[in-house]
C-alpha cells in the first residue's frame, strides 16, 4: 500500500475532534457500548500511522501541509518522522485501550462527556507530536493543557479536584507562554514558522534565552523539579486519565519537545548539563517520594516523576546510546505504566480502596488483573528479556564511561531504577499476595474492557522484548536518528551479555530493589517523619505564590479602582494636561506669543459668548443653571466651526451639545444631589487650578500645531480621490464610511457597548425600592459635602 501521510494525519489529528463532538449522539444511540465504538477512532489512527512505519524506518521524513493563513506565510504543516511517529503510535495504541477501559470504568457517570474530553485530548496530543508549524505546535500544546484541566477537574464537585485542575493549568500554562515566546524567537531568527526549517540557532547570542524558554516549557509540562508538584495532585483525575495523560502521553510532551529540539539546540554544555541536573534531581526526588506513599495511585504518580526525570537525564547525556536508551525506555515505560495505572483502577473498582496497607490476597479473586500486574511489574523491574530490560541495559552502557560526570549520573540511575523496581514489587506483591484483607466492596474481577488494556499492554512489553531487532529497526533507530539529526542503525539483538558491565549493574539494581522492598515500611516511616520535620513542600510554595498574586492584584485594583469620582477626574485631567504640555516643554516646542491676532468682529462676538458661558458655569449657584451655561459655551464653539468652514463638524457639535445638556440634566435629576453646588474654598482652588492647567495645556498644544506649516498631503489625497474613487463630494463623510470604514465600524461597536453598559448601570440602581433612602456610599458627593449628607 502506498503511504499517504496526509490521510494518516487527518485520521489521527482531526478525527478525534470530530468524534468528540459526536460522542453525545453515539452515547444516546449505543448506551453502554459507547466505549467500544469510540475506541475505533484511535484504533483507526494507529492503523493509518502504521502504514507509514515502512517508509519512515528507511529514513524518510514525510511532510504534510495545508494552507492556513497564506497571506502571513503560515501553513498548517505536519512532519512524520521517526520521533513523531513513535509518539503518535504510542498515543493511538494506548488511547484505544484507555477508551475501552473508560467505557466500563465510568459506567453511567456522565460517560459521554468524559469520552468527549478524552477524544479531544487525543486529537490535541497527536497534533502536538506531529506538528511541524510552530504555531500549530503551540496551539496543540495549549489544547492539551486545557483538555487536561477539564479531565483533572472532571469530578468538579470535589474541591481537591478543582484545585488540582487549576494548579495543573497554571503551571503548564506558564510553560505554554514560554513555548510561544520560543516559537516567535525561532521564527524571527530563521524566517519560517516550520520547525524543520530552523537552523543555526546555536551560534547566536540569544541561544541561552532560547534554551531557557524551551526548557521552561518542557519542564513545566513534564513536571520536572521545581514544577513537579502538579503531577501528583493531578491524580485527582479518574484513573484512565492518570494512566493516559499523566503517565504515557501528555507529561511526555516535554520530553518530546526536548527530543524535537535536540538537533537545533542540543550538544552544547548548557543544554546537556541543565537537562542532566534537573532530570537527575527529579528522578531521585520522585523515587524517594514514591516510597513515602501508601496510596497505589500516588506511588505510581511519583514513579512517573522519576521516569520523566530519567528520560530528561538520558536526553541530556545526548550520545547515541543514551538517546537509543531514552527511546526504548519511553516505549517500555508507556506500556507498563499505563498498564499499572489501569490495574490500580481495576483494584479500586473491584475493592473500593487503593491503600496498600488495606489490600492483600487478591490473587484468587482478581486472577486476570494479577496476571497483568505480573507482566507490567516485570517490565518495571527490567527483568530479561522484556523491553524494559533492554532499556536499562542501554542506559547503563551509555554511561559506563571513565569520566566523573557520567559516573555520577550512572550512580543516580542505578539508585533510581532500584527504587522504581522496589515500587514495582510493592505494587505487585502487596495487593495480590498474603492474607485476603477485608475491603469496602466484596472483591470482584473487573469486566473485559477493563482487563484488555493491562493484559495486552503488559503482554506487548514482554513480546517486544523477544523481537529486539524488529523494535530496533522499525521504531527505535528511526526515532533516534530524528533526535540526533543523523542516521543511526539499530544494534539491538536478543540475548544477554553476561560478561558486560551493564548486566552486572542490572544485578546490583535488582538486589537493591529487593532489599528496599523488604524494608519499605521502615523507609516509609522514616521519610514521613522527615517530611513532617521540614514542614514545607512545593505544594505549599505554589499556594503561597498563587494566593500572593491574588492578593497583589487585589491591592493594585483597590489602588487604581478606588471608587472616588473626584479622584478619578482629578487624575484623568491632570494626566491629560501633562501629556499635552510636558513633551512640548521638554523638547522646546512651546509656542511663542503671537504678535497679532487676525479676528473678524463676528468671530470675536461668538468667542465672547463662549467666554460668558464659561464664566457663568463657574459663578452659577444652581447645578441646572451651570449645565445650561455649559451648553451656551458649546453652542458658541459649534457656531465658530460653522463660521470657519467646517459645517459637518459644527453640525455634529451642535447635536452633541444639545444631547449632552439633555442627558446631563436627566442624570442630575436622578442623583440625589442638592440643587446648588457649593464647595469649600480649598476644593475650589484645587478644581480651579486644574481646569486652568488643562486649558493652558490644550491651548498651547493647539497653538504650537498652528505655528507649523500645515501638511496638506492627506487633504490633497482625499480631495483628489473622494469623487473618482468613492463617488462622494463630502470628504468628511466619505472618510467616515469608506476610506476609514473599518475604524467607524469599530467606533459604532464601542458606542453600542457603552450604551449597554450605561443601561446596565441604570438597571442596577433601579432594583432599590422607590423612595428607599439611597445608601450614602452610592452617591458621588463632591468633597466637602460629606458633612452635609
Amino acid at each position: 500500500m502506498e503511504a499517504r501521510p496526509d490521510i494518516a494525519v487527518l485520521i489521527s489529528v482531526l478525527l478525534p475532534f470530530v468524534a468528540a463532538a459526536l460522542v453525545p449522539l453515539v452515547h444516546r444511540l449505543a448506551g453502554a457500548f459507547t466505549g467500544w465504538i469510540v475506541a475505533l477512532v484511535p484504533a483507526a489512527g494507529f492503523v493509518a500511522l502504521w502504514t507509514l512505519v515502512g517508509p519512515v524506518s528507511v529514513g524518510a521524513a514525510l511532510p504534510v501541509a495545508w494552507a492556513w493563513a497564506p497571506s502571513w506565510g503560515i501553513s498548517l504543516s505536519f512532519l512524520v518522522d521517526g520521533l513523531s511517529l513513535t509518539f503518535a503510535l504510542t498515543i493511538a495504541g494506548i488511547g484505544t485501550f484507555i477508551l475501552l477501559y473508560s467505557g466500563a470504568y465510568l459506567k453511567g457517570h456522565r460517560q459521554d462527556r468524559f469520552l468527549a474530553f478524552l477524544l479531544a485530548f487525543m486529537g490535541a496530543m497527536q497534533g502536538l507530536v506531529l506538528a511541524d508549524s510552530l504555531i500549530a505546535l503551540y496551539l496543540f500544546w495549549e489544547l492539551t493543557s486545557v483538555t487536561s484541566f477539564l479531565l483533572i477537574g472532571f469530578d468538579h464537585t470535589r474541591q481537591a479536584a478543582r484545585r488540582a485542575a487549576i494548579q495543573a493549568l497554571v503551571v503548564t500554562g506558564l510553560g505554554g507562554l514560554a513555548l510561544l515566546a520560543a516559537g516567535v524567537l525561532i521564527y524571527t531568527i530563521s524566517g519560517s514558522w516550520e520547525l524543520s526549517a530552523a537552523n543555526g540557532l546555536r551560534a547566536l547570542d540569544v541561544y541561552p534565552l532560547l534554551v531557557l524558554l524551551v526548557l521552561l516549557a518542557a519542564f513545566t509540562k513534564s513536571a520536572q523539579l521545581p514544577f513537579h508538584f502538579w503531577l501528583p495532585n493531578a491524580m485527582e483525575a479518574p484513573t484512565p486519565v492518570s494512566a493516559y495523560l499523566h503517565s504515557a502521553t501528555m507529561v511526555q510532551a516535554g520530553v518530546y519537545l526536548v527530543a524535537r529540539m535536540t538537533p537545533e539546540l542540543g550538544g552544547e554544555l548548557l543544554w546537556n548539563l541543565t537537562l542532566m541536573g534537573f532530570g537527575g534531581a527529579t528522578m531521585l526526588w520522585g523515587a524517594v517520594a514514591a516510597i513515602r506513599q501508601t496510596d497505589l495511585k500516588q506511588m505510581l504518580a511519583q514513579t512517573t516523576l522519576a521516569s520523566l526525570g530519567l528520560l530528561m537525564l538520558l536526553l541530556g547525556v545526548g550520545t547515541e546510546l543514551a538517546v537509543t536508551a531514552a527511546v526504548l525506555y519511553f516505549l517500555a515505560h508507556a506500556l507498563y505504566k499505563a498498564a499499572l495505572f489501569l490495574i490500580v483502577g481495576a483494584i479500586d473498582h473491584g475493592t473500593g480502596t487503593r491503600d496498600i496497607t488495606a489490600l492483600g490476597g487478591l490473587r484468587d479473586t482478581m486472577t486476570v488483573t494479577f496476571i497483568g500486574a505480573i507482566m507490567a511489574s516485570v517490565a518495571m523491574l527490567g527483568l530479561p528479556p522484556v523491553l524494559g530490560f533492554f532499556a536499562k541495559e542501554e542506559m547503563y552502557a551509555a554511561l559506563a564511561l571513565g569520566q566523573w560526570l557520567p559516573l555520577v549520573a550512572l550512580g543516580a540511575l542505578v539508585i533510581g531504577n532500584a527504587v522504581l523496581g522496589a515500587v514495582g514489587l510493592v505494587v505487585l506483591i502487596r495487593p495480590f499476595m498474603g492474607e485476603l484483607l477485608p475491603t469496602p466492596i466484596e472483591p470482584h474481577e473487573a469486566p473485559v474492557p477493563m482487563l484488555a488494556g493491562p493484559v495486552v499492554m503488559g503482554g506487548l512489553g514482554i513480546l517486544l522484548g523477544f523481537l529486539p531487532s524488529l523494535v530496533g529497526g522499525a521504531i527505535v533507530a528511526p526515532a533516534t536518528s530524528a533526535i540526533l539529526g543523523s542516521a543511526v542503525y539499530s544494534h539491538l539483538k536478543l540475548g544477554i551479555d553476561f560478561f558486560g558491565l551493564p548486566f552486572w549493574l542490572s544485578v546490583v539494581t535488582w538486589a537493591l530493589a529487593l532489599g528496599l522492598y523488604l524494608r519499605v515500611d521502615f523507609a516509609r516511616t522514616l521519610l514521613r517523619r522527615t517530611e513532617l520535620a521540614i514542614g514545607w513542600n512545593f505544594d505549599r510554595g505554589f499556594d503561597a505564590v498563587y494566593f500572593g498574586l491574588v492578593r497583589l492584584s487585589g491591592a493594585v485594583t483597590r489602588l487604581l479602582h478606588h471608587g472616588r469620582l473626584e479622584l478619578y477626574l482629578f487624575v484623568v485631567f491632570a494626566l491629560l494636561a501633562a501629556a499635552a504640555v510636558l513633551p512640548l516643554w521638554l523638547m522646546g516646542g512651546l509656542p511663542s506669543w503671537p504678535s497679532s491676532i487676525d479676528v473678524q468682529f463676528y468671530e470675536a462676538g461668538v468667542a465672547l459668548l463662549a467666554v460668558v458661558g464659561v464664566v457663568t458655569v463657574i459663578v452659577a449657584r444652581s447645578r441646572l443653571f451651570a449645565i445650561l451655561a455649559l451648553g451656551v459655551q458649546g453652542l458658541s464653539v459649534a457656531l465658530l466651526f460653522i463660521l470657519v468652514g467646517a459645517p459637518d463638524l459644527g453640525f455634529t457639535q451642535l447635536m452633541v451639545e444639545v444631547l449632552s445638556v439633555v442627558i446631563l440634566a436627566l442624570v442630575m435629576t436622578r442623583l440625589n444631589l442638592d440643587a446648588d453646588d457649593s464647595r469649600p474654598f480649598e476644593d475650589w482652588v484645587r478644581d480651579g487650578s486644574l481646569a486652568l492647567l488643562v486649558g493652558v495645556a490644550v491651548t498651547s498644544l493647539l497653538w504650537s500645531v498652528l505655528e507649523r506649516p500645515l501638511d496638506l498631503a492627506l487633504s490633497r489625497f482625499f480631495d483628489a480621490n473622494s469623487v473618482p474613487v468613492a463617488h462622494g463630494h463630502n470628504v468628511v463623510n466619505v472618510i467616515l464610511v469608506d476610506f476609514r470604514g473599518l475604524d467607524t465600524l469599530g467606533e459604532i461597536a464601542v458606542v453600542m457597548t457603552a450604551g449597554i453598559a450605561i443601561l446596565a448601570l441604570i438597571r442596577g440602581r433601579k432594583r432599590r425600592p422607590r423612595g428607599a433612602p439611597v445608601p450614602a456610599e452610592d452617591v458621588p458627593l463632591p468633597a466637602g459635602r460629606k458633612e452635609l449628607a
Binding site: 459645517p647 459637518d648 453640525f651 455634529t652 447635536m655 452633541v656 444639545v658 444631547l659 439633555v662 442627558i663 436627566l666 442624570v667 436622578r670 468613492a726 463617488h727 462622494g728 463630494h729 463630502n730 468628511v732 463623510n733 466619505v734 467616515l736 464610511v737 469608506d738 470604514g741 473599518l742 467607524t744 465600524l745 459604532i748 461597536a749 458606542v751 453600542m752 457603552a754 450604551g755 449597554i756 450605561i758 443601561l759 441604570i762 438597571r763 440602581r765 433601579k766
Partner: protein
C-alpha cells in the same frame, strides 16, 4: 416640563425632526450630513417626545427596544462590509450601483448601507440611554 403647549407641539416637532434626520442621513455623501449626525438628530427628536409625553409613551411609539435598533444597525454596517466577499474584494470595499430611474440618477452603494447602520447605532444607543433616564430605569 410637560406644559400643554409643549405636549401639543412635541409630536409635530418630533415628526419633522425624524424626517429631517433621514434627509440629513441620505444627503450626507455629497453635502454636510451623514449617519452620525442623522442619528443624533433622531435621538434628540425622541428625547423631546419622551420629555413631553413620558418615557412610556415614547417607548410605545418606538415599538422596538432602542438597543435592538442599535444592534440592527451594527449588524447592517458589518454586513455591508461582508458583501464585498461575494465580489472577491477586501472587507468593506465600497460597491456601487448607479442607474437611471425615470430620468434621475439613483446611486445605491454599500457605503450608504453602512451609513444607515451608523445612523441606527447612534440613534438606538442614545435613545436607549435617554429613555432609560427619563423613565427612571423602568423597563430599561
Amino acid at each position: 416640563m410637560s406644559t400643554l403647549i409643549f405636549r401639543t407641539i412635541a409630536p409635530l416637532l418630533t415628526a419633522v425632526m425624524l424626517v429631517f434626520s433621514v434627509f440629513v442621513l441620505l444627503r450626507g455623501h455629497n453635502e454636510p450630513g451623514g449617519g452620525f449626525i442623522g442619528g443624533l438628530i433622531a435621538a434628540s427628536a425622541l428625547a423631546i417626545y419622551g420629555m413631553a409625553m413620558g418615557g412610556e409613551a415614547a417607548r410605545t411609539a418606538l415599538n422596538v427596544h432602542p438597543l435592538a435598533m442599535a444592534g440592527f444597525g451594527l449588524a447592517l454596517a458589518g454586513l455591508s462590509g461582508v458583501l464585498s466577499l461575494a465580489f472577491d474584494v477586501p472587507f468593506l470595499t465600497g460597491l456601487w450601483s448607479i442607474f437611471d430611474l425615470d430620468g434621475s440618477e439613483v446611486a445605491l452603494s454599500t457605503p450608504m448601507v453602512f451609513d444607515i447602520g451608523v445612523y441606527f447605532v447612534v440613534f438606538g444607543t442614545i435613545a436607549a440611554v435617554a429613555l432609560a433616564l427619563e423613565s427612571d430605569g423602568e423597563d430599561a
